[in-house]
Amino acid sequence: MKYLAILKDSLREAWDSWVLLGLLALSSLVILFAAQLSFKPQTAEKTMRYFFAQNMFQQPVMTEALNSRKPEKILGMRGNWSRFRLEKVELTRGEPDSPLSDYALIVAADGRGFGMGGNFIVPAIEVQGKGPVEKKKPVVDTKADIAQLRTLFEDAEEIGYIKIDAIEPIADDDGKGVPRYRVNLLSTPNTYRIWGTEPGVLFGLFTHEFFEIFAEPLGWRMYKLAQYIIAVGSWIAVLFGIVITSFFIPNMLRKGTIDLLLVKPISRWLLLTYKFLGGLTFIFLTTGYAIGGVWLVLGLRSGLWANGALLLIPSITFFFAILYAVSTFVGVVTRSVVASILLTIGAWVAFFGIGMVYRGIDLLEKLEKVEADRKEVDGQQPKLAEERWAGGWTFTTIKVIHAISPRTEDLNQLNDLIVYTDFMTGNLGNMNKFDNSNRSWWDSLLVSCIWIGIFLGLASAWFYWKDY
């Protein structure tokens, strides 16, 4: 009951400041924005084109979608996707343009692979002054082509979006010597998640061609949309939350106010803990409104119910708990709203910086490994340990700092992973398939919990011993 009393008091205080109203209004706008979006399914041909590159410099949309969390894998593929071009899509079973149907893709291997190695056709060239030189004969290695072609679909097959029934060469019927292949794809109950979709606005009133530039596989489109909303929304929510809740503790500690609370039959540490939990509940409710609202309207509008994304509500609340613990500590010690806001934002920036730097070195390490593997395959000398970034003391220092500091950036990445996995597969059990980070999320949560405990413990100790 006492907890509820303090919670109600915190909500009353936040409501009175109008910031809460602003936050709710902003959340409502985001929900309305999501609600007016529409998602129109594309044709089978447009969908299947996402498996192929538009040009030699651009990776296939599907490769990007399925490997967005593994940039080093894309690098490892060495651009071989640009060898293939989709010529035709044939319906082999079911309704046309339905994600429940099976399709056969006719693929021409007439492009040039971007990058080193691999099979590619060398086009005819002319050397100035020497006249036309002899056209080099294309090197055709059917086995290698089929293996490479399979790489374009294997990510989708691995997650269970499609099944590759067969990849077979087609007879050279145009006489130009361009190898062609027939790829038979079978649908699965999850195929609709990667089906091409074209967004529209104002409840489908405007689905102008302009929006086709935003057309992408459904799950990927929804993930990117949710990612923007959540990234921007959660930052704004946390910033508003910091501002609102920074008033709670200093206001409670004002002379003449704190006396009236300290004489109540409640211990000081419990009073502070309730005040902390009151702030968190406030954030939980506002985040719940925003995330729950976006989840609901996106589900209704797209038919893609990313229930796991609701985990973001406790996750963002936990993220905020780290910062609110800092704010509580600063508030108890300084009794200043301005100091609470500034130092909490400062801590947020510092934690973010540590997380980003760690993320950077994590990626660099992976890229170095890819490079080392490539050199090994090509028979080159790998880099010496002292030449590698990963072996240096800088990396070690950053890793140590990251290991012992609150992991707000890890939580950001975890949120991203949750949203991605849920929109792409609908099953958070697949998270590890998309997560190649060198960290344990449980470690991140534990270290952050310890920091929350440290900040709250210090604040409680100070509050306990202080005379008011």
Partner: protein, 329 residues
Amino acid sequence: MAVVETIDLQKRYGSIKALAGVTLNVKEGEIYGLLGQNGAGKTTLIKVLLGINGGWQGDARLLGERAGTPHVRSRVGYLPEDHNFPDYHTGYSLLDFYGELLGVAGAERRKRIPKILEQVGIADRMHYKIRTYSKGMKQRVGIGQALMHNPEVIFLDEPTDGVDPVGRRDIRGLLLDLKKRGSTIFINSHLLGEVELICDRVAILRKGTMLREGSVAALTRQKGRFLIGLAPGQVFPIAEVRNLGYDANPLDDRWEVHLLEDQSIDPVVDYLRAQGLHLRHLVEKRQSLEDLFLETHGDKTPDRERNRGRGEQSENIKVLDAIEEERRT
């Protein structure tokens, strides 16, 4: 039973000794006033008793328990001096919030809050935000919240501060009413006249040390000094009374008779009656609490003396008259 009891209570703020061995005892059902200049240690004493300030030495007990424990705090009401109620509350919601923290059930709160706010005189504004209240109204809300849970003892730090004369009278009435119902009230106040009117006992604190303690009557009595007033138009036979061996002097429209050792006032009264004079006023002279307070703090000039030169009747004489009037009725 001692409701509040301290023995050699000491409290320091760094190098400053706020309480230097205070021993006091407040009995059940009495109104106890603590007087002292700013910084004398009055508020510190209350804060120690209520557990707001810790790190004290000596013994402090409240309602038979060690002072400051959460349990004993549930049995006391408190109005701090510089209260600062969250102004996003209304009078009603503030009492509801504090009542909930005190463990008063929801149904009981809904029943009690309007009654209490009626009692303190702001029922008609109970759903207005506190930020719209005047200082006096805030003071009334403060007293109301201190009564929220029917406390056994109530600590009021400057309860009539900022309240207009009518409001002060109402608060005095309320406190006397609470006393009648058995509540013990502990008051810190600068308004000595107020304290004198309602307190059974007072203590004077100076620099953390208890200088005087006792009932108001005992502390203000001036033994051997009587004030005599006669019926209108009658002349006090001052020379004859002096001849009887008494020291007599006019004081405003009355006469002050000073008894020497072993003298009684009875011979004077008998003489006046024998002369056919009608006594309208006879009271053992008391000094005002303010005089006592100033005397305790080193200012020996009584208030009456100071004001006489200006031809004014001091506030405290008025208070004394009021007390006498009250006692007569």
